[in-house]
């Protein structure tokens, strides 16, 4: 019996959407599915260390305004310049919901593959060193398409 797979694109850098992606990935991996998360564009924030990124003027400006790191993600609504993020973190912690950092660790522990889109990484002038160690590889669309084509679950978040 061929192994069942799941392929999820994470294009959003919103806290709520990344939460959804990580919970689904963890659930799929827990069910024995070979799961891949492909982070592109804003999603790359979730797998960055949080360094200052960028080389040229615009790249650096972007790096300042769009500082990476999974702890810095804002909710897609009611962001209130950062207060929303703090409120949601508090509400979730009080109900024992795992934090994004814990979720990411659980997911990698269960064997979820973390891949990053080379093209958007390039455009946003982010380097490999700016990515967290858990990232397995920096790849192009063909790799994702191959994973998705053989998957039972394919999602765009």
């Amino acid at each position: 019996m061929a192994e069942s797979k799941a392929a999820i694109i994470v294009m959003s850098g919103d806290m709520d959407k990344v939460f959804g992606a990580l919970i689904i990935a963890t659930g799929a991996a827990a069910a024995g599915m070979d799961t891949t998360l492909f982070f592109t564009f804003w999603g790359i924030n979730a797998v960055q260390k949080g360094n200052r990124t960028g080389k040229g003027l615009m790249g650096k400006m972007l790096g300042l305004m769009n500082r990476g790191g999974i702890g810095r993600l804002n909710p897609s609504k009611f962001s209130f310049g950062g207060a929303g993020r703090w409120m949601f973190k508090k509400m979730m912690a009080s109900k024992n919901v795992p934090s994004l950092e814990e979720l990411l660790e659980t997911a990698t522990d269960l064997g979820v593959h973390l891949l990053v889109c080379s093209m958007s990484m390039n455009v946003m002038e982010i380097d490999r060193e700016d990515l967290i160690d858990g990232v397995e590889d920096v790849v192009g669309v063909a790799k994702f398409v191959k994973e998705a084509a053989g998957s039972d679950i394919q999602l765009f978040i």
Partner: protein, 78 residues
């Protein structure tokens, strides 16, 4: 429920997806025929644990209400 339990997983206070993540991890380390008791108070677990069993081919033996939480029994199959 009259079943010999080989391991107990305490997932009380844990929220989705943690009970399932730990279930998967614990099952990996167990042998076929062994039974894991999962103690959980997460509402979703009542649907999640049987679904996980069906998808992975492990046996869901049942659940027992306890004081403020539920005990689920899963038997590892080959």
């Amino acid at each position: 429920m009259d079943v010999k339990v080989d391991q107990v997983q305490d997932s009380i206070g844990q929220m989705c997806p943690m009970p399932i993540a730990f279930l998967a991890r614990n099952m990996r380390k167990m042998e076929a025929g062994q039974v894991l008791e999962i103690q959980a108070d997460d509402e979703g677990a009542h649907a999640d644990i049987p679904a996980w069993c069906e998808q992975t081919g492990n046996e869901f033996l049942g659940e027992v209400q306890a004081d403020g939480f539920v005990k689920y029994y899963v038997k590892k199959t080959d």
